[in-house]
Symmetry: D2
Subunit: 89 residues, 4 copies
Amino acid sequence: MINEETKKDVLPRLRKIEGQIKGIQKMVEKERYCIDIINQVTAAQRALDQVSLRVMRRHIESCVANAVKSDGGAPVVGELMETIYKFIR
Amino acid sequence: MINEETKKDVLPRLRKIEGQIKGIQKMVEKERYCIDIINQVTAAQRALDQVSLRVMRRHIESCVANAVKSDGGAPVVGELMETIYKFIR
Amino acid sequence: MINEETKKDVLPRLRKIEGQIKGIQKMVEKERYCIDIINQVTAAQRALDQVSLRVMRRHIESCVANAVKSDGGAPVVGELMETIYKFIR
Amino acid sequence: MINEETKKDVLPRLRKIEGQIKGIQKMVEKERYCIDIINQVTAAQRALDQVSLRVMRRHIESCVANAVKSDGGAPVVGELMETIYKFIR
């Protein structure tokens, strides 16, 4: 489960991303150059990657680790692989 | 350049994505299941893909098309390829 | 359409990628470390990105440019966007 | 470490991908339509995703699971996250 450390790492990132999304809205409203808009969208997506990777790391270190120790972890690892699969595409 | 049609298509998407980012913040605060958080982040990224693709389409139909007609468009196509490259990675 | 310049750029890349795929097969046969195998697969995928980007650039400079000049290019741009969409996911 | 089951799953996939890469070389040599070439490259990349995901699953079920049981697994999980990060971008 998410812990305080991950929360403290991830929440400021999400707030910054919220600001990026608002900024992109303003760029669209002001009809800024398309390429600049797309690059800002890409920057927000890369910042979201970092959020996912941090939550995933915490998940592996807590839930996956616990499941592995108690029952081998097959269903939890299956669920993780599906999530990675969705994440990469 | 961005036109009214693209604005009307893209702005509601961006507002919805802003809502998704706020929702993810709440999920983190309430310590929701890591996998559910990651899947929501992935959903926001896929929605951002749609924004980029729509702006890119408009860009090709306006700026790239105009440049191609006037001077062959080499620098504009080069800039587009760099943007696609950043977008895919 | 593909021209000689793109061919000369892209064919050696594809031959190198073929070698990379054969190398990955040997790594699997010899039971090399999983992480090393995955990193080699990733390297082959990044090399394939470069092939796609080069063919796409040529496509935009030839087919898309010609279509834009003759009839505005809407169907060709639509087809390109669909291809970019498949490419990114 | 890679086991017989993963080998049997992954090797035929890699041989098929090798064939796809050879096929793309022929498409380039015969100057086939750019969009068809790009779509074939994308298909090979998606097939490579499946190879990585299968090797990664095996890695988590063997090395990561063992490390978690013996010493908590921090360095192995760190290495895995880095690999996922390279894989997604």
